[in-house]
């Protein structure tokens, strides 16, 4: 057959091949469908639906039970039943009305139609008529027709109206019959509204609660291919038009699809379910519709970062908080770091970095503890001194001035201190420049010694003279100790000889590190200097934060004696290196060769004396290490800081971070880089070896990383990293920023002022601060025994005041005067409000901060007027007498009846000091104003029978029965009328000297 010759393949074989390939092809297409249909987020949505059904069911159940137990509801249902029964008797009447209404409605319909149609005809006619007028065709026929029809229309209108009136009448009757029931139904509906809403919600999510048709629809809507129409399971997203996703040179509105899986994030009631369904932990602050950051306005990635458009676990760029999580994610989700996205989600520990871009003006940031700690540590460590960050442009240098160093301490001490600060003070903020991983070889140390010698030499050679007023009294150690604990030193200083193993850095803990830990001062400073410093810190260093505590010569001596008694013998016995000319030459040569040729360098060095070399290289080294960034050093006044600016460090591309040889050890993220850099600044000068040891890179002396060791804890570093990650260049639209009202500005400015000057080291504002209380307790224990020092309310009464409602509390001009001229308020207080050298403006900013906080503004206020002749005044006098204010308060020179233990401010001061408005709040409930205060709410017989009051309290008080404010104003009137001595300090002193506080103690005289 010729046919078979024209064939090559066995057709059956080809058929089989075709069948197989078609089968594969079909299978692959099915796979494509499945792959497209099985999006990972669907699993989560299905799971969440189950949770939601469960929750809605239980909500519904709760509401039903609530309704069942609601007596009002039950009463109403019963009433409704009986009302319906009553209605039954008039059922016939109602039925009749209904039938009649039906007929009437038909009639109305007909009549209305008649009217409408005739009106339509009329309109046509009207136009014809008007047109004829226009064409001067004054056809009277049209006119006549028009008016005739007009009459008919009017007639129909009346007929229709009549029908309407009849219907209205009937309806009124009908309504009257059903009125009661209607009203009841109305209130029932309002009671069950919530339940109905939940029921409706349930019928939307719970297939079991659905009608049959809906059940079918519920299945069909999510079928493959059909699910593009209106699926239940779908990608959910938030689009925020004025927040932009940074796409380099342009922004696209932020699109966050996080809610596709994090379905419970904005719903209460899912707090305890596992991720991704968990409710946001701070729903009142974030995400919630009524919070200040609703999800519809802010989305998710604007704070958390991440790839908002992603709908997969990886493609949304999650970041694990720790290695365990990372491993778990790898197993559960096949997680791997998402390269190719510059802003991966912050891991949980750095989440607060997202707060900073909008709230960079605040300090501290409430609810952002890590970030606030970071801010504090950033300031304490003086990071800003070397690394420019705009926010701190005007901040003073973080370290003490070295202009007059020679008067304060010795070269010897300075040398050892620079060499190894923590050997002198274990928790100092002065960082370690030496004995780091990259300069610890014996050769390095030899060089280091000469470097430190040189720097010391320079500092002392440039030191100015400082006139010390020497005091000749001799101090008393014990008195000194008591003073240190009671005056307020420990609001800012610690005396902590050994490292605390449980040290937990918090903002509160850092408040007692405002000034140095006052240990081993005997090894550091001389007595004369210390006394001068205590008496007037500003004379040594104008910019110091140490305030003037108005200590007397004797007190200064006592304190100095106490502080200087402590010496650090180990430190003292350390050796200082000898000058080594060779090493010094090398150091000098390193610097000189930056300017000169090699031959010139040698020549120059051979012409320099040792001292010149020391001073020359000392100056260069101070410049090189950047000592001047933190300290005032002569000759470095105009130098720029040495570090790179960190203003947009958080936005810097990851490719700009050099991981050196640590690419396998350190995860490739910005935060891990930063963490390691801060934790061990020289890390990238090192090369990790396989066994975990490191070798140092071959580096020239001036190439080495200079950043010093700060010895920070994990928590502190995490705070810093959070802050640095928050330093971004994002442009935030004004609509998303806190509104810059004058109040807001005053508050943020004030908060920062309060923070910078460590007001909360002593004071408490709104439950925050009061670091000094511990020291008060120590003092109390010493003078009154442990049972008193354990009494927290007693400690409070001897501690600096709470500054809650300070703005509302005091008269601003009084406060300003007082700030500038501190005087006694609470007579038994030992702790002293220091005298600061702040300007008027600075004080005013503090006052306006207090005022803004309380919703007031600095403005003139009418003085409180009163007359001694009024009932009010007299009533006040009586209340005062009954209330026995004199038990605790001074009335001018008149001493309180009780012991000094319970003493309270001189009431004569009140009229100048306090605002009556505040006093009313205060009298009403002192505890809410100042929690823990020992001031009781004065008793006023406001709700006692008038006759009783008349009998017991007198007519004047009785005239105010029922008027709380009236009575309290009486008290205020009386106080405003109180005259007497304002300055009672001498009386107080005399009393305390003679009689003491009158502490009650248990163990003191009970032997056990």
């Amino acid at each position: 057959m010729s046919e078979s010759q024209e064939r090559h393949y066995n057709i059956l074989k080809l058929n089989r091949l075709f069948a197989i390939s078609t089968f594969i092809f079909t299978a692959v297409w099915l796979l494509v469908f499945v792959d497209d249909y099985q999006r990972p987020w669907k699993t989560y949505q299905k799971e969440f639906r189950k949770l939601e059904i469960e929750k809605v069911r239980s909500d519904l159940n709760d509401l039903s039970v609530q309704l069942e137990n609601n007596p009002d509801y039950n009463r109403l249902t019963e009433k409704l039943l009986s009302a319906e029964k009553r209605l039954d008797s008039r059922r016939d009447e109602l039925d009749k009305i209904n039938v009649e209404l039906e007929t009437l409605n038909t009639e109305l319909y007909r009549n209305n139609q008649l009217y409408q149609f005739s009106k339509a005809d009329l309109d046509v006619l009207k136009y014809d008529y008007e047109k004829s007028q226009f064409g001067h065709d004054k056809s009277s026929d049209l006119k006549k027709k028009y008016f005739a029809l007009n009459d008919i229309v009017n007639k129909y209108f009346l007929i229709r109206e009549k029908s309407e009136i009849r219907i209205d009448k009937k309806k009124k009757v009908q309504q009257e019959i059903t009125k009661v029931i209607g009203r009841m139904k109305g209130s029932l509906i309002s009671m069950t509204r919530e339940k109905n809403l939940v029921e409706r919600k349930l019928s939307k999510v719970d297939p079991e609660a659905m009608s049959f048709a809906n059940k079918v629809g519920n299945v069909v809507r999510d079928l493959p291919v059909l699910d593009f129409i209106d699926p239940y399971y779908e990608v959910k997203q938030v689009v925020i038009n004025d927040l932009e996703e940074d796409l380099v040179y342009m922004g696209m509105p932020k699109v966050d699809r996080c809610v596709t899986c994090h379905l419970g994030i904005d719903k209460k009631g899912f707090e305890d379910v596992p991720q991704p369904y968990t409710t946001h932990p701070k729903l009142d602050l974030m995400v919630g519709p009524s919070s200040s950051h609703p999800i519809s306005e802010f989305g998710c990635t604007s704070c958390h970062a991440g790839r908002g458009r992603g709908t997969g676990f990886n493609s949304s760029s999650h970041s694990p908080n720790d290695e365990t999580t990372a491993h778990r994610w790898e197993e559960e989700h096949g997680w791997e770091p998402m390269h190719h996205w510059e802003n991966p989600m912050f891991p949980k520990r750095y989440t607060e970095a997202g707060c900073f871009k909008c709230h960079s003006g605040n300090m501290p940031l409430k609810e952002a503890e890590t970030l606030s700690l970071g801010l504090s540590v950033f300031e304490k460590s003086g990071c800003y001194a070397c690394h420019n960050v705009t926010r701190w442009n005007d901040a003073p240098k973080p370290g003490p001035s070295l202009y007059k160093l020679a008067s304060k301490t010795s070269k010897d001490w300075t040398y050892k201190w620079i060499m190894d600060p923590s050997s002198f003070r274990h928790n100092t903020w002065m960082p370690h420049f030496f004995k780091k991983g990259n300069n610890s070889s014996p050769d390095d140390i030899k060089k280091t010694e000469q470097e430190v010698l040189a720097m010391t030499e320079y500092l002392f050679s440039k030191s100015e003279s400082y006139e010390i007023t020497s005091v000749n009294n001799s101090g008393d150690y014990d008195r000194g100790r008591l003073l240190v604990n009671s005056l307020g030193c420990k609001g800012c200083h610690q005396i902590q000889p050994n490292p605390d193993p449980d040290y937990d850095p918090t903002i509160q803990a850092l408040r007692t590190e405002q000034g140095p830990n006052l240990i081993s001062l005997g090894s550091k400073v001389n007595e004369d200097w210390l006394v001068s410093w205590l008496k007037n810190p500003y004379s040594y260093h104008e910019e110091t934060k140490m305030p003037d505590l108005r200590v007397s010569d004797q007190e200064a001596m006592d304190i100095a004696t106490y502080l200087l008694a402590d010496k650090n013998n180990a430190f003292d016995s350390m050796n200082t290196a000898q000058v080594n000319d060779d090493a010094l030459n090398e150091i000098s040569a390193d610097f000189l060769s930056q300017l000169l040729r090699k031959s010139q360098v040698n020549e120059k060095i051979s012409n320099m004396t040792t001292k010149e070399k020391l001073i020359y290289s000392g100056e260069k080294l101070i410049g090189y290490y950047g000592c001047y960034s933190c300290h005032n050093i002569a000759g470095f006044e105009d130098r720029k800081p040495i570090g790179i600016a960190l203003n947009i460090e958080g936005s810097k591309l990851i490719s700009k971070f050099d991981f050196g040889f640590w690419h396998d050890e350190i995860p490739h993220t910005k935060w891990d880089w930063l963490y390691n850099k801060i934790n061990k600044p020289e890390i990238f000068d090192l090369i990790p070896n396989e066994e975990g040891s490191v070798t140092v890179k071959e580096l020239n002396p001036l190439e080495k990383s200079r950043m010093p060791h700060f010895g920070l804890t994990d928590k502190e570093i995490n705070g810093l990293v959070t802050l640095i990650m928050g330093l971004v260049k994002d442009e935030i639209p004004a609509s998303k920023l806190p509104e810059k009202t004058p109040e807001y500005l005053a508050e943020t400015h004030g908060e920062r002022f309060v923070h910078t000057n460590n007001c909360l080291g002593c004071h408490k504002i709104d439950e925050d601060g009061g670091a000094i209380w511990a020291s008060t307790a120590v003092w109390l224990e010493e003078i009154a025994g442990p049972e008193n020092s354990e009494d927290i309310s007693l400690v409070q009464s001897f501690s600096p005041p709470l500054l809650n409602t300070q703005g509302k509390k005091v008269q601003p001009d009084w406060l300003l005067n007082w700030f500038q001229n501190i005087s006694m308020i609470r007579p038994h207080l030992q702790v002293r409000m220091p005298s600061y050298d702040f300007t008027h403006e600075e004080w005013n900013s503090v006052i306006s901060y207090f005022q803004s906080k309380d919703g007031l503004s600095l403005k003139y206020e009418n003085p409180h007027n009163f007359s001694k002749a009024t009932n009010s005044y007299k009533a006040g006098e009586k209340i005062q007498e009954e209330g026995a204010c004199i038990n605790c308060h001074f009335y001018g020179e008149m001493k309180p009846r009780q012991d000094a233990l319970t003493w309270a401010p001189n009431l004569v001061l009140t009229k100048k000091r306090l605002r009556p408005e505040w006093l009313i709040d205060w009298f009403n409930n002192p505890q809410t104003v100042m929690p823990g205060t020992k001031m009781p709410s004065p008793y006023i017989p406001v709700d006692e029978p008038v006759s009783d009051v008349k009998e017991y309290w007198g007519n004047e008080v009785a005239s105010f029965v029922g008027d709380t404010t009236g009575m309290l104003y009486g008290l205020i009137d009386w106080m405003w009328g109180l005259e007497g001595k304002e300055d009672i300090s001498s009386i107080v002193k005399e009393h305390l000297d003679n009689e003491g506080y009158g502490f009650i103690s248990d163990d003191e005289d009970d032997e056990w």
Partner: protein, 236 residues
């Protein structure tokens, strides 16, 4: 749901009318009794005048057998199911009197929502300053004319101090419970907690100075006995 309700109801009925026992016991002190000096109340003459007998300090009151007064004994938890489901706060009123410038009683327990009347039997000004941590702190003056005021506590709380800032020696302790199973030891150091359904419990004895101790307790139809012995606390 219903079954659970009925179950609770049955338990409740049983607890109230049926099988329930008294827990009794005695608290003793093991150690040397401290010598205690009388209180000095010179600061307020009224106080001195009001006291019939010289009041003594109350931080450790022992009888001759070293029975400890003023120990608050209470059921801390139940190991055999919930026992603190729902108790109505009792109608009767608890009393804390200020008499002779001391608080009577020195230690007391109240239930959540129970009315506590604070009386002023002295003719002087007291202020009643409660220092709870969970409940709301209050500090109210009671001038001599004010003989009585009422307060309630709405949260469960371990014993906290109540003091008078005018008379610094005055102190009392109040514990707030959600159930009625607590008692304060009498002069001899004995206590009785009654009406407890059979089951396993943890009972705690709390003293202001001596600290607290707990014990496991099995209550059967005839009740149970649980004694505690305290020793002198170590100095901190």
């Amino acid at each position: 749901m219903k079954i659970k309700l009925i179950g609770t109801l049955i338990v409740f009925v049983l607890v109230n009318f049926g099988y329930s026992g008294d827990v009794e016991g005695k608290i003793t002190f093991d150690g040397k009794a401290p010598k205690m000096k009388p209180l000095r109340m010179d600061a307020d003459p009224v106080c001195v005048a009001n006291s019939d007998i010289k009041p003594r300090k109350e931080w450790l009151v022992l009888d001759e057998n070293y029975g400890v007064k003023n120990v608050l004994v209470f059921i801390k938890e139940s190991k055999s199911g919930s026992f603190a489901d729902n108790y109505d706060s009792p109608k009767e009123v608890a009393i804390l009197d200020q008499n002779g410038c001391v608080y009577v009683p020195h230690v007391l327990g109240v239930m959540v929502g129970q009315q506590l009347d604070i009386l002023n039997s002295d003719g002087t000004l007291h202020n009643i300053h409660a220092l709870p941590k969970v409940n709301k702190e209050f500090n109210k003056a009671m001038p001599r004319s004010k003989k009585q005021m009422s307060v309630t506590f709405d949260k469960v709380e371990a014993p906290f101090k109540v003091k008078c800032d005018v008379h610094p020696w005055m102190g009392a302790f109040v514990g707030v419970f959600e159930h009625p199973y607590f008692a304060v030891t009498d002069d001899s150091g004995s206590y009785t907690i009654s009406g407890l359904a059979p089951g396993k419990y943890v009972v705690e004895a709390w003293h202001e100075k001596l600290g607290s101790k707990t014990a496991d307790l099995t209550v059967d139809d005839s009740g149970a006995t649980q004694n505690f012995t305290f020793t002198k606390p170590k100095k901190k």
